[in-house]
C-alpha cells in the first residue's frame, strides 16, 4: 500500500517536473502534451474515483499555487477529471485501448472546459472563447498527449521481457 502511494507520488511529481521543464522544448507548433493530466488519467483508471479526485485536487492545487492561474481553477478541473476517469476504473470496468484513448480525449476536453469556464466566470471574458479554445488548443494538446502515451506504451511493450507480455 505504502509502496503504491510512494510510486504514484513519484510518478505525479515526475510528471509535474517534466511538465514545467522539458515539455516546453518538445512543443510542436506551440502545442505541448500535458503529462500531469496523463499521469492523473492513468492513476484514476487504475485506482478509482476516490484516489483520482483527491490526487487531482492536490495536483491541481499545486499547479494553481506555482502557476499564474486563478487559485482553485486547476484544482477544480483536475478534481473533476480524476472523478470522471475514476468511474471507468479497471477494477470495475474493462476498457479496451480505443476506449481508453477516447476517455483520455474526453478527460482533456472536460479539464479545459472546466478551466475555461472558471476563467470566464472569474474574469468576465466572453464565453465564446470556450469552444474556440477547446477546438484550437485542447484537441491538439490531447492528440499530442495521446501520441506520447502511445509511444510510452509501445516502448514499455518492447522493453518488457517476451514472457511477461
Amino acid at each position: 500500500m505504502i509502496l503504491r502511494i510512494v510510486k504514484w507520488v513519484c510518478v505525479i511529481a515526475f510528471a509535474l517536473v517534466l511538465q514545467s521543464t522539458i515539455v516546453r522544448k518538445v512543443a510542436v507548433f506551440g502545442v505541448e502534451p500535458d503529462l500531469t493530466i496523463v499521469a492523473l488519467f492513468l492513476l484514476a483508471l487504475k485506482h478509482g474515483v476516490l484516489q483520482g479526485l483527491y490526487v487531482g485536487f492536490v495536483v491541481g492545487l499545486t499547479q494553481d499555487l506555482y502557476s499564474p492561474s486563478i487559485l482553485g481553477q486547476l484544482a477544480l478541473a483536475k478534481t473533476l477529471i480524476g472523478f470522471f476517469v475514476g468511474l471507468f476504473n479497471e477494477k470495475v470496468m474493462r476498457t479496451d485501448p480505443v476506449m481508453k484513448a477516447v476517455l483520455l480525449l474526453l478527460a482533456f476536453v472536460l479539464h479545459d472546459a472546466v478551466f475555461l469556464t472558471a476563467q470566464v466566470v472569474k474574469t468576465a471574458e466572453s464565453a465564446a472563447i470556450i469552444p474556440t479554445r477547446l477546438a484550437m488548443d485542447t484537441l491538439p494538446r490531447a492528440a499530442y498527449s495521446l501520441v506520447v502515451v502511445l509511444l510510452v506504451y509501445i516502448g514499455s511493450l518492447v522493453m518488457k521481457p517476451a514472457g511477461r507480455r
Partner: protein
C-alpha cells in the same frame, strides 16, 4: 452526528467529490486578497514543509556525494602534497649540491643513486651516469655533506661507486687542526678510524679532510669529524674514530668530480712500456 458520519462513509465518493469541489469553488470565488492569503497559508504550512523535506533529502544526498568527492580530492591532494614535499627536499639537497661548485674547481657531474645493495652492509651503490658522461674509474664521488666514495667500475650509462664504508676502501686523510696525515679505514663498515701515532695530539671534534696524497681525491674535501680516541692493537698507535659527514644510508643524489687520478699518466706510461715489450 453519527448518521452524518455514516452517510459520509457510505457515500465517500460523492462526499469526497463534494468536499473537493466546494473547496475549489470557495477558493475560486474568493477575492484576490483572500486568494493571496490562502495561497500564502498553503505555501507556508503545506508546500514549503514538503519542499523543505525534499530539499533536506536532496541536500543529504548531495552531502554524501560531496563527501565522496572531497575524500577523493583529499587523497589526490595528499599525494600531491607528498610529491611537493619530496620535491622541496630534493630542491634543498640540490641547492646544497650546487654549493659544492663554489668549493671545488673541478667539473661536477650530477648523478642519482639508482641501485643500492639490498643488504644492511652498504658498501657500494650504482649511479645513473657513466662513460657516456665522460666518467672514468677512480673519479671521486661527493655528496651534499662530504666525500662519498669513488668510481670503481664505469659502464656506458651506469657506474659503480665504492663507498667509504667498504672495508676494502682506504682513503688518505689529514686532520685539519694539526695536519696529521693518516689513512681512513673501517673494519665493519660502521666504525671509521684513522691510525695515529700515540704521541700525536688528536681531540674529538677535529675535522678530517682528504689529504690529496692517495691520488684519487683532491686535497681538502670534507670527510668527517673525530668522535673519540681509542686504543689500537699496536701500542705505538691509537685510533681516532671518525664520524663521516655523509649519511650513507640516505644518499640519493651525488656529484662525480670529473678528475682523473694523479697517477693516471704513470699508468698510461706503464701500459705503453708493457706494449713495447
Amino acid at each position: 452526528m453519527q448518521w452524518i458520519l455514516q452517510f459520509i462513509i457510505g457515500h465517500r465518493n460523492g462526499s469526497s467529490l463534494m468536499l473537493t469541489v466546494v473547496l475549489s469553488l470557495w477558493m475560486l470565488s474568493a477575492d484576490e486578497t483572500a486568494q493571496a492569503g490562502v495561497s500564502r497559508a498553503l505555501m507556508l504550512y503545506v508546500f514549503y514543509p514538503v519542499q523543505y523535506a525534499v530539499d533536506i533529502s536532496t541536500r543529504a544526498r548531495n552531502i554524501f556525494a560531496e563527501n565522496k568527492r572531497l575524500r577523493r580530492e583529499l587523497a589526490r591532494m595528499s599525494t600531491r602534497a607528498a610529491a611537493l614535499e619530496e620535491m622541496a627536499r630534493q630542491n634543498h639537497r640540490l641547492r646544497k649540491l650546487l654549493g659544492l661548485n663554489d668549493r671545488f674547481s673541478h667539473e661536477l657531474v650530477p648523478a642519482h643513486v639508482v641501485v643500492r645493495e639490498p643488504s644492511g652492509h652498504l658498501r657500494s651503490v650504482v649511479i645513473d651516469v657513466g662513460r657516456n658522461n665522460g666518467l672514468l674509474p677512480y673519479m671521486p664521488v661527493v655528496g651534499t655533506d662530504g666525500v662519498v666514495g669513488k668510481l670503481i667500475q664505469v659502464l656506458p650509462h651506469l657506474s659503480l661507486v665504492q663507498l667509504l664504508k667498504d672495508p676494502a676502501s682506504r682513503t688518505s686523510v689529514i686532520i685539519r687542526r694539526n695536519r696529521t696525515v693518516g689513512i681512513l679505514e673501517t673494519e665493519d663498515g660502521e666504525n671509521f678510524f684513522v691510525k695515529c701515532r700515540t704521541h700525536i695530539e688528536v681531540a674529538p671534534g677535529d675535522t678530517v679532510i682528504t689529504s690529496g696524497l692517495g691520488g684519487v681525491y683532491p686535497k681538502g674535501m670534507r670527510v668527517g669529524t673525530i668522535e673519540k680516541i681509542g686504543d689500537d692493537a699496536d701500542p705505538l698507535f691509537k685510533r681516532a674514530f671518525v664520524e663521516p659527514f655523509e649519511d650513507f644510508s640516505r644518499i640519493e643524489e651525488v656529484f662525480v668530480l670529473r678528475l682523473s687520478p694523479q697517477w693516471a699518466s704513470f699508468r698510461e706510461a706503464l701500459d705503453s712500456l708493457e706494449l713495447e715489450e
